[in-house]
């Protein structure tokens, strides 16, 4: 079942001369884990802003084509209505956090939809626990490190238990182990709660093992839409400057020298296994 469907979606920011995204036609199914990637300035963030109605309701500008999210035509529904279904974690957490304590920030969305106090308490506790920041509960978000703020931003969106979570480079300020923890959390939300995840990410080496569907954008258009292995095998995609995992580069470098691994590895574990097979085969 499609949870997000776009048809020929084209958008131009107010005052803009050329569209930031053009002719985007996509289907995202309920429960998918999508990685949305592409070079800087390709329109990833702009597309994400459409999913919860920030575009066109907040940014105005000119939106053409069709966009339906959870059977709601985005153009006909308010941001506050759409926000119940689509949670957006901003690229820069500081743009999203404003309360005087982490707890209050996480509770804010729930208060806004008029949830009973006891339920809010439960949801906040759960979201803080899921993101591993229970110890930051009383701290002021603006005093936290970039990585900690990113967790708070994720918790505040998570607390709403939306159908779709859109995360715009949610781990950019985090160290790799911290990033992996966040990806694990996101993955768990996706698998256990069936939340559809749209992850905007450059670091495909970290993200690809969780993903079943990758969308590559370039110059405002969708360039590729498919599985991670197919993407990395595509010359066209490599040319755009998408961050190809080093395991895939090694695969390619070996292939250029006439050594063919059985398939395209997307993790170091897979690469290890494939190389091991070749070495053992070579020895026998």
């Amino acid at each position: 079942m499609a949870i997000i469907e776009t048809k020929n979606l084209t958008y131009t920011y107010p005052g803009g001369t050329t569209p930031s995204i053009s002719d985007i036609s996509l289907t995202i199914k309920k429960g998918e884990f999508i990685t949305l990637t592409g070079p800087s300035g390709c329109g990833k963030t702009t597309l994400c802003r459409c999913f919860n109605g920030l575009i066109p309701h907040f940014y105005s500008g000119k939106l053409e084509g069709d966009l339906v999210v959870k059977d709601l035509r985005v153009i006909d529904h308010s941001i506050s209505n759409l926000a119940r279904h689509v949670g957006l974690v901003f690229q820069n957490p500081e743009n999203q956090l404003f309360a005087l304590s982490v707890e209050k920030d996480v509770a804010f969305g729930l208060e806004n939809v008029g949830m009973p106090r006891e339920e809010i308490r439960k949801r906040v506790d759960w979201a803080l626990q899921m993101t591993g920041i229970e110890n930051l509960r009383e701290r002021a978000p603006h005093e936290l490190s970039g990585g900690q703020q990113q967790r708070v931003a994720i918790a505040s969106v998570l607390a709403m238990q939306p159908d779709v979570m859109v995360l715009d480079e949610p781990t950019s300020f985090l160290d790799p182990l911290g990033a992996e923890k966040i990806f694990d959390v996101i993955n768990e939300l996706n698998k256990k709660l069936d939340i559809t995840v749209i992850l905007v990410e450059h670091r495909l080496d970290l993200a690809s093992k969780y993903t079943d569907h990758v969308i590559v954008m370039d110059k405002g258009k969708v360039l590729f839409d498919g599985g991670p292995r197919e993407i990395f095998a595509s010359e066209e995609v490599r040319m755009t400057g998408v961050g190809i995992p080093k395991a895939v580069m090694l695969y390619q470098a070996l292939k250029d020298e006439g050594i063919h691994l059985k398939e395209v590895p997307i993790t170091s574990k897979e690469a290890t296994q494939l190389i091991r097979e070749i070495i053992i085969h070579d020895r026998s």
């Binding site: 920011y13 800087s40 400057g241 080093k246 050594i259 690469a271 290890t272």
Partner: protein, 273 residues
């Protein structure tokens, strides 16, 4: 030359961010400071341009104690590109942003124009010269911040997480560009989590954890030492992970980049048909 002598730093809130830091960075060195969130990396480099002064101990820039120098004075020599570009951008156009510091340093208008054009070209920002920095994407803003620092040609360039929000091409450009700056004799110090970027650049690596320096050395040594990296909450580069897992087959394990990995495997397998 930057000398850090037994520096401790405690924030007014009581958080001890640096403990017993001793470090020397020679002119023309390329150094990566790595470690987990909250390890004290940014706090340390903020001492290099006088944004912070040590609670205990001393920092010397070219032999002068930073306690005796103003930030205005130090920044001419030490340029600092913030992690979050939004902290440093405020002008109405990209062009003005880059010209701002140059005007402050008292360059004449002709030089300013030349330098601005140079920096715009260098970072592929020419098409945005009249655009507001806040209309740009996160990755582009980051490049504006970098351009505005490089424009005044400091001797030491500090880059706090330069690869955040940058795509692969831009990272590759950034790498070539850092190498170029370094070849020209500039000291480059970058704070980063981006292990793959460090593996590609192969600088001297300083590993921090909980306010202390836990290890330093060449990239090949530090990035392939799993125990050290784990202390600093860092995973080895993907290529290193692959080779560490193949150690039992008799392959070398101190491998950090694709090119080297390929060479080793080709040798190991013998020339294929």
């Amino acid at each position: 030359m930057i000398e850090v002598k037994d520096v401790h730093f405690t924030y007014p809130t009581g958080v001890k961010a640096l403990r017993e830091i001793c470090l020397a960075v020679q002119d023309g060195e390329f150094v990566a400071i790595m470690g987990q969130n909250g390890a004290g990396k940014t706090t340390l480099v903020k001492h290099f341009n006088g944004l912070l002064k040590p609670t205990e101990g001393e920092v010397f820039i070219d032999g002068v104690n930073t306690r005796n120098l103003s930030i205005a004075n130090l920044s001419r020599k030490v340029g600092f590109v913030f992690q979050n570009a939004d902290y440093q951008l405020f002008c109405e156009t990209v062009e003005e942003e880059i010209a701002f510091a140059l005007r402050n340093f008292g360059f004449d208008e002709k030089t300013i124009k030349k330098r601005v054009t140079w920096a715009l070209n260098l970072l592929d920002l020419m098409q945005y010269r009249k655009t507001s920095p806040f209309m740009l994407s996160g990755g582009e803003r980051k490049r504006v911040a970098l351009a505005s620092i490089l424009a005044w040609d400091p001797e030491v360039i500090i880059l706090d997480e330069p690869t955040i929000g940058q795509d692969y091409h831009q990272k590759e450009r950034l790498r070539q560009f850092i190498v170029q700056l370094n070849t020209q004799g500039k000291t480059v110090i970058m704070v980063t989590h981006d292990i793959e970027f460090v593996a590609d650049c192969s600088p001297r690596v300083i590993l921090m954890s909980q306010g202390k320096i836990v290890a330093e050395g060449v990239a090949e040594e530090i990035l392939t030492n799993v125990n050290l990296l784990a202390q600093a909450s860092i995973l080895p580069p993907q290529i290193t992970q692959i080779f560490l897992n193949l150690k039992d087959l008799g392959l070398p394990s101190k491998v950090i980049n694709v090119h080297e990995g390929k060479k080793i495997l080709l040798n190991f397998l013998g020339a294929p048909a």
